[in-house]
């Protein structure tokens, strides 16, 4: 086995290790945690799906998108349209076309279609947005997010407007979340190792040199944008079926902020950074939410004011950017040493 082959094989251990880490997380909480921790585990795994999807674009291209919460919004509503009982839909969403109003799908094909529709929307929006250079594209993606939010909040007969759509089947357990998160991690790793992923990272490192080497920046960005929107769409559908209630404002700035915070804290440069960021921030959020509800320390009742969760996470994000700009994992991946993978006989130098 050559050194190159050994390294290539070793890089394949990253998704395996990450999935093992998440499985251990679910098993540990299943064994020792209470009901509310079980809910937190499911929510964390949904976020892994969302953030890994987000990373496929942002991590490989180096372009921050503020529009990915919009794909989650599209996904959540598509799944709601497909799975809600027809009687419910005629009541809440009278403007749906007949064939959608009559549909009553199983949740799995609904989640897949949610992802596909989000990906199609991304293909259309990306075709316009990604022609712009990095920072301008970020701003245009922000405009796209606001556009989707405006449409969803006002198109009342079809989306229910600002009032919530209720009654989604709540089927998302930690194991369902783990399944989708594992799938997202696998696809992200495969894309990252593909020729397109490599070309995209080349444009991230040096745009001019990459284009001088004949790399079509626009094409690879659009491909990554579409794949990444698929998982954000699925993640949005899972979020809807986890809480059971969806609302356009649930997929707006606060979700964008949370996804960005997770990516920045973990480190945008690697897939492992995205996953570790979700775990760390989710655990911190869980702790802060409990503190906001109030804890009893000895004789004194102690509670943080509402809103301090966002303040502390925002401050943590700024501190990470100042003192550890590449995030906790600093662009490295969890990986088995190449020597182990290649076997002892032919240890590469």
């Amino acid at each position: 086995m050559t050194e190159h082959q050994a390294r290539k094989l070793a890089s394949l251990t990253t998704p395996v290790l990450l999935i093992a880490l998440l499985t251990a997380f679910v098993l540990l909480i299943g064994a020792f945690g209470d009901r509310s921790l079980g809910r937190m585990a499911a929510e964390t795994l949904i976020r892994v799906t969302l953030v890994v999807g987000f990373w496929i674009f942002a991590g490989n291209s180096g372009v921050i998108s503020f529009g990915h919460a919009a794909f989650a919004c599209v996904g959540a509503y598509v799944s709601a349209w497909a799975t809600l009982k027809p009687a419910m839909k005629s009541l809440l969403l009278p403007g749906l076309p007949d064939w959608v109003a009559q549909a009553e799908w199983h949740v799995l094909p609904a989640a897949v279609v949610a992802g596909v529709v989000a990906a199609l929307v991304a293909l259309l929006a990306g075709a316009a947005i990604l022609r712009l250079s990095g920072i301008a594209a970020s701003i245009a993606s922000f405009a796209f997010l606001a556009m989707v939010n405006t449409i969803w909040s006002n198109w009342t007969p079809v989306t229910g407007g600002t009032s919530s759509v209720v009654g989604l089947a709540r089927y998302v357990t930690p194991w369902v979340g783990l399944g989708w998160a594992a799938f997202a991690i696998l696809v992200a790793a495969i894309y990252g190792a593909s020729a397109s992923g490599l070309a995209l990272r080349a444009t991230r490192e040096d745009e001019v040199a990459a284009s001088a080497s004949g790399i079509d920046r626009y094409r690879h960005r659009l491909a990554a944008f579409t794949v990444s929107a698929f998982f954000c769409g699925v993640g949005g559908a899972l979020m809807g079926h986890f809480i059971g209630v969806i609302n356009p404002d649930g997929f707006y700035l606060s979700l964008t902020f949370l996804m960005l915070a997770m990516l920045v804290v973990g480190g945008i440069g690697s897939l492992s950074g995205a996953v570790v960021g979700v775990l760390v921030v989710s655990i911190a959020v869980e702790g802060l939410v409990r503190l906001e509800k109030g804890v009893t320390l000895g004789a004194t009742q102690f509670a943080l004011p509402a809103g301090s969760q966002e303040i502390l996470i925002g401050l943590a994000m700024i501190l990470v950017l100042i003192f550890r700009p590449a995030g906790l994992l600093a662009g490295r991946d969890l990986i088995l040493p190449a020597a182990w993978v290649a076997g002892r006989a032919k240890t590469p130098k």
């Binding site: 970020s138 701003i139 245009a140 796209f144 960005l260 966002e310 401050l315």
Partner: protein
């Protein structure tokens, strides 16, 4: 009717232009897209009232006479912006534009939630200068007094700013820094002074927008800066990142497009006006991705 539309377009476009200038100034000197600008505006709005989570707002600074109120509020805006620069953006001086942008987004969330803790989440009614809402006759059109004042104030601010940038030493240094920051420093431009100056100006412009918003809507809401910040961003992109005249021109153009859409769209499509507006902007950018007035430093040099 058409004259009325013209006044609407000028006053709305003027506010957008001022907000866009606040973003473009900072982008020009340190390549920071300031996602906290909307929260600077909201902070200046809330600086007018006494902190409390009650539903009824009690005027604090807002009760002062205009001659005290306006300079004091501009100082509050400038102070907040300079403090943000010192605490958050100075340690990040050498970071990439993407890291700066993400940090400013986080800062915006922090400021918004600090306001939420001190003032509560419900929008509050406040009345600042209620007399200005009265319409006056002008060239045969009924125009609210406030609109005329806004248009005059915008023109005044733009004239003063242009004078400052063209004639004063710090203005010259700012323009040099916007052109090529590294070269400007080599030629003796004081980086800290220029950047702090740009932030102070940007904060004061945010406070101006806050005053106009409060006088027009009569509401204080923690989320109120967000929409106008988004339009301001779009104006800076359409105008060409880093170009100050471009930002102003695009701000006015977006205000005009917004008023025109409001008048031309059928009633049932009006709630979607902003969606049409953003779609229109994306179309414009497809035709001119570099913006209307691309600055020379916008392209990477090898």
């Amino acid at each position: 009717m058409t004259l009325q539309l013209l006044f609407d377009a000028l006053s709305l476009g003027g506010i957008y232009a001022i907000a866009a200038l606040g973003i473009a100034l900072i982008f020009g000197v340190m390549k920071l897209v300031n996602f906290a600008h909307g929260q600077f505006i909201a902070f200046a709005v809330f600086a007018l009232i006494v902190p409390s989570t009650d539903a009824v707002a009690v005027m604090g600074l807002g009760a002062a006479p205009a001659l005290v109120l306006v300079p004091a509020l501009l100082a509050v805006g400038a102070g907040l912006a300079v403090a943000s620069e010192y605490l958050v953006f100075r340690p990040l001086r050498n970071a990439s534009p993407v890291a700066l942008m993400v940090a400013s987004f986080a800062l915006g969330v922090v400021i918004q939630n600090v306001l939420l803790v001190f003032y509560g989440g419900r929008p509050k009614a406040i009345s600042l200068w209620p007399d200005l809402g009265k319409p006056v006759q002008l060239l045969g059109a009924e125009v609210p007094m406030l609109q005329i004042i806004v248009i005059c104030a915008v023109l005044l601010v733009l004239a003063l700013l242009a004078l400052m940038l063209k004639r004063s030493r710090i203005g010259l240094e700012m323009r040099a820094a916007a052109e090529d920051f590294g070269m400007a420093r080599l030629l003796g431009v004081r980086a800290n002074a220029v950047i702090a100056g740009a932030f102070a100006l940007s904060g004061a412009l945010a406070a101006t927008v806050a005053l106009v918003l409060v006088a027009q809507t009569g509401v204080a809401d923690v989320r109120m800066g967000g929409q106008i910040m988004l339009i301001a961003f779009i104006a800076t992109v359409v105008g060409g990142m880093g170009s100050l005249p471009g930002a102003v021109a695009a701000g006015f153009a977006i205000g005009a497009a917004s008023v025109a859409l409001q008048a031309a769209l059928p009633i049932e499509a009006r709630p979607f006006r902003d969606a049409f507006l953003y779609g229109l902007v994306i179309l414009v950018l497809l035709l001119r991705p570099q913006g209307l007035f691309a600055s020379a430093s916008a392209k990477p040099r090898v």
